[in-house]
């Protein structure tokens, strides 16, 4: 219990009071000293250690922490759905007033879906892709003995309507794969709440959603809370948490390192880990502020040695794109215009952020900038030379090839762009070899230097990408991109798959590399917070068109279009951060 520091000097809150006094009849959760361990062939692994929680109706408790901190295992313990090799012990484990340690599987089944709703993260895989969402919701009703086909259908429609889905009669007949991301997530919530459970548990309910959709889902969850239900939700994003949680429990390494009233924890964090999580939030902070505690990397060591000659201009902008148009054949002989009249300039040594929701055309714009997609109209110059165009400006791939090292790509998911059989070292030496950089003898040394540049120890040289963490993989991807000594990096959602704290480290790394190597970044993201933090200039895209363009300061403080304002309003921000910004100004 040494790490458990109740931060309840705000006083008088039912649920932050450590369990024991919660003899109140209506307490939903009352947990003391919960331990969960897993028996593996290599011994017992303790995943949750000495966790104590309490929750009252109408309140929301957020479990916060990075991947592997034990949040999900804790949540699954509350519905009795841990893996078969899990061993659960607790001083007290009262769920909905019943001793969960003594519940049989049959008794658990009676609670699941009826009294406890459990919402998983990604609705695309969390709803059966072969069945309609109506069937999925109906299944919960049937499992709990609701009779009458017509009556059940009416409840299915009502559940979808309550979850904010228009035309429930139509949507009920569609499969999750046929719905948009937002509707799908709503349907997932509907199937978990159709029987009006008193307790709703949501595991990362908004991760990977566009900002506006995320805001809608948060509103829906807040509505559940207002109906008097208890809500436990998991997130690694404190900004999201601040909008919904009454109580916060910060987890690290299986323990709760800090807990208490949300506003207290966020504005006055006592544990350094909580502070680090708060600092890691990029939204609302301009370029230049460091997000992580790590020391800046130094790249001086790489400047020597035989490099690559380039015709990349020292005076012209890094990329100039003019009036790009791209369309694809659509259904029934029509053409779908994906990019329409997009122009932008990426200045040397600067970052241009492109922000937009799924389907806004930002990825196609990126592919044109990379010279991988031929535009229907318009032109691109890279470092002063013609890079892509149409008609008389057409550039052949052969002409492009010798300039290819000047622009390199870093993807969202680096794992799928590594050959899984290659070691980390091979991934990088291969890139060096492809660019004819260095001699066969000194490529290993160069690769180690590159790893050092991105903050990775040489000991990772012989590891397989699969055995690395998400943050380490992304660093390897950056090292590989840097191997060819590029002038421009195209960063396509480079931190979207990472936890906030890891995201902070990678964003800091990118900032260090830019200032020391003079790199220019074309940075694509759906996350406005990230875009605000990294960008000098910003391009807001919607439906293939540029809605608004300008400096980051202008776009974020003085947006000119409704669409940008709407996007900005949807970004969750810490109340504490707003406060701090006000004080500073």
């Amino acid at each position: 219990m040494t790490d458990y520091r109740p931060n309840n000097d705000g006083g008088g809150l039912a649920s932050a009071v450590p369990a024991g006094s919660a003899g109140e009849a209506n307490s939903l959760l009352n947990i003391e000293g919960l331990n969960v361990s897993f028996a593996t062939p290599r011994g017992t692994v303790d995943v949750v250690k000495d966790v104590s929680l309490a929750l009252a109706p109408g309140k929301a408790l957020a479990l916060v922490g990075e991947s592997g901190s034990g949040k999900t295992v804790t949540a699954r313990t509350l519905v009795g759905l841990n893996a078969a090799n899990a061993k659960v012990t607790a001083g007290r484990l009262d769920v909905l007033g019943r001793n969960a340690l003594k519940l049989s599987e049959r008794q658990w089944r009676g609670l699941r879906g009826k009294d406890i709703g459990y919402v998983l993260q990604d609705a695309l895989v969390s709803l059966d892709p072969l069945r309609t969402v109506g069937q999925e919701i109906d299944e919960a009703l049937r499992a709990h003995g609701v009779r009458g086909k017509a009556a059940r259908l009416e409840r299915v429609h009502q559940a979808l309507r309550d979850a904010g889905i228009p035309d429930p009669e139509v949507r009920a007949k569609q499969r999750s794969g046929e719905l948009s991301g937002g509707l799908r997530q709503r349907a997932l919530i509907a199937q978990a709440t159709v029987l009006n459970p008193q307790l709703v548990i949501a595991d990362e309910p908004t991760t990977a959603l566009d900002a506006t959709v995320q805001a809608q889902i948060l509103e829906l969850l807040a509505g559940l809370k207002e109906q008097g239900r208890g809500l436990v939700f998991i997130s690694h994003d404190l900004a999201v948490v601040s909008h919904l949680a009454d109580e916060i429990a910060v987890m690290q390494g299986g323990r709760i390192v800090e807990s208490g009233r949300a506003s207290e924890v966020l504005s006055n964090p006592r544990h350094e880990y909580t502070q680090a999580l708060i600092d890691a939030i990029p939204s609302g902070t301009a370029k230049g502020r460091r997000l992580s505690a790590g020391t800046p990397v130094s790249v001086a060591s790489l400047s020597g040695g035989p490099g690559r000659t380039t015709e990349f201009s020292e005076t012209a902008p890094a990329i100039v794109a003019r009036d790009l148009v791209k369309s694809y054949p659509g259904p029934g002989g029509t053409r779908r215009t994906v990019v329409e009249g997009v122009s932008f300039t990426l200045e040397r040594g600067k970052t241009l952020g492109i922000v937009g929701e799924s389907g806004s055309g930002k990825s196609t714009t990126a592919r044109i900038a990379l010279g991988l997609t031929q535009p229907d109209a318009g032109s691109v110059t890279l470092g002063g030379f013609a890079w892509s165009g149409t008609g008389t400006d057409q550039v052949s791939e052969e002409q492009r090839r010798r300039h290819r090292p000047d622009i390199q790509l870093v993807n969202q998911d680096p794992l799928s762009s590594f050959d899984p059989r290659f070691s980390v070292g091979r991934v990088i030496t291969d890139a060096l070899e492809a660019g004819s950089i260095g001699t066969a003898g000194d490529r290993t040394e160069r690769a180690v230097t590159l790893l050092d540049q991105v903050g990775l120890p040489p000991s990772l040289f012989n590891r397989r990408p699969l055995t690395l963490s998400g943050g380490q993989r992304q660093r390897v991807a950056i090292a590989r991109a840097l191997a060819l000594q590029p002038r421009v990096l195209l960063l396509d959602e480079p931190v979207s798959a990472l936890d906030v704290s890891i995201q902070a480290q990678v964003l800091d790394l990118l900032a260090d590399l830019q200032s020391q190597l003079g790199l220019s970044y074309l940075f694509i993201s759906h996350d406005l917070g990230v875009i605000h933090h990294v960008s000098d200039d910003v391009l807001v895209m919607k439906d293939g068109k540029v809605v608004e363009a300008g400096t980051a300061a202008d776009i974020f403080t003085n947006p000119q279009t409704d669409y940008t304002r709407q996007l900005l309003a949807a970004v969750p921000e810490l109340p504490a951060r707003k406060l701090a910004v006000k004080e500073a100004s």
Partner: protein, 335 residues
């Protein structure tokens, strides 16, 4: 459907150029046209390959080498069976006959081919059909009972499947006959006497096939059980069995279904093993006899029937696949 396609294309932003698919009806039509071509190819190939086999059909017709027929008899027979004409003409005549349902006359039995094969078709289909039912029943039982039920049961299930898949049908047939027919006397040893006589031969064919199907089904079932939607279903209060039957199983049978399409075609031809061991009538037996006796019309007809079955079963599987996995219909629908 259009919303789905739009959502997907706008998300990946890659043009979809696959021009296949369409409604189930269209697919059946297109498949039927393709099937005619396959049938034609199978018949043509067999027709000409069989002409390359050494030996003179006339000798066969006249009862083998010992018959020593006179030149006039040979000429008469050649004229009667059309063998005096060039091979190409014979081929065209054969195709024309096929189009009207005439498979020719057996060289050995001197009667129309269908008179001989007609009574053989149903027993073989019964045998192959029941073998498939047994194979699926065994495979599904293993999958539902052993996958994800702890390391011991998992290992036992996996081991038995490999063992089954490795068994040769003739050995299974003999063992079944010895144990259940000779020693226990539960089933007849041989013959074609209703359902009871069908059980052992069908098991002989079905058990090795069950091993194959179960191996495929097991891995896809394991995969499905690890999916988040299974956790969602359990969180709705479903029992373990309901999740397995209602969710995981549907995902798991898809690859096994594809395997079954292949299996049915080969069951009809490999049925000969069971037919001989259990002394049953059937197409497989007729085929072997016809090949040994160089009875070309019968051989050709059996090839034709097996090819037809193969095509029909593949068509049925294609439609079933779409029923089980409605996503198949969406793919390329917007192309």
């Amino acid at each position: 459907m259009s919303t789905a396609t739009q959502a997907r294309t706008s998300h990946t932003e890659i043009p979809r150029t696959t021009a296949t698919a369409g409604s189930t009806g269209q697919v059946i039509l297109r498949r039927a046209a393709g099937s005619l071509f396959v049938l034609w190819a199978a018949v043509t190939l067999t027709f000409f390959v069989l002409r390359l086999v050494p030996g003179d059909p006339v000798t066969t017709i006249l009862g083998g080498h010992s018959a020593a027929p006179s030149a006039e008899t040979v000429a008469a027979v050649e004229a009667q069976y059309g063998l005096d004409q060039p091979v190409l003409i014979q081929y065209v005549n054969y195709l024309a006959g096929l189009a009207t349902g005439n498979f020719g006359t057996s060289y050995v039995f001197k009667v129309p081919v269908l008179d001989i094969l007609g009574p053989q078709i149903l027993p073989t289909f019964q045998l192959a059909g029941l073998a498939l039912v047994f194979a699926w029943a065994i495979a599904l039982a293993f999958t539902l009972l052993t996958v994800g039920r702890g390391r011991v049961l998992d290992g036992v299930g996996r081991g038995i499947e490999v063992f089954f898949a490795a068994l040769p049908p003739f050995w299974v047939g003999i063992m079944l006959a010895v144990v259940f027919a000779v020693i226990l006397g539960w089933f007849p040893v041989a013959g074609d006497d209703g359902f009871k006589s069908l059980v052992l031969p069908a098991l002989a064919l079905g058990i090795p096939l069950a091993g194959f199907i179960a191996q495929v089904t097991r891995s896809s079932f394991e995969e499905a059980l690890a999916q988040p939607f299974v956790l969602s279903a359990r969180a709705r209060g479903l029992s373990d069995l309901a999740v397995r039957v209602g969710h995981a199983l549907r995902h798991a049978i898809l690859p096994g279904l594809t395997l079954s399409a292949w299996a049915v075609g080969s069951l009809v031809s490999s049925a000969v093993v069971a037919e001989i061991i259990f002394a049953r009538p059937g197409l497989g037996r007729s085929l072997v006899d016809a090949i040994i006796n160089r009875d070309l019309p019968i051989t050709l007809a059996v090839v034709f029937i097996i090819a037809t079955v193969y095509i029909l079963v593949n068509l049925v599987v294609d439609v079933l696949y779409r029923v089980i996995d409605p996503r198949t219909n969406d793919k390329g629908a917007g192309a």
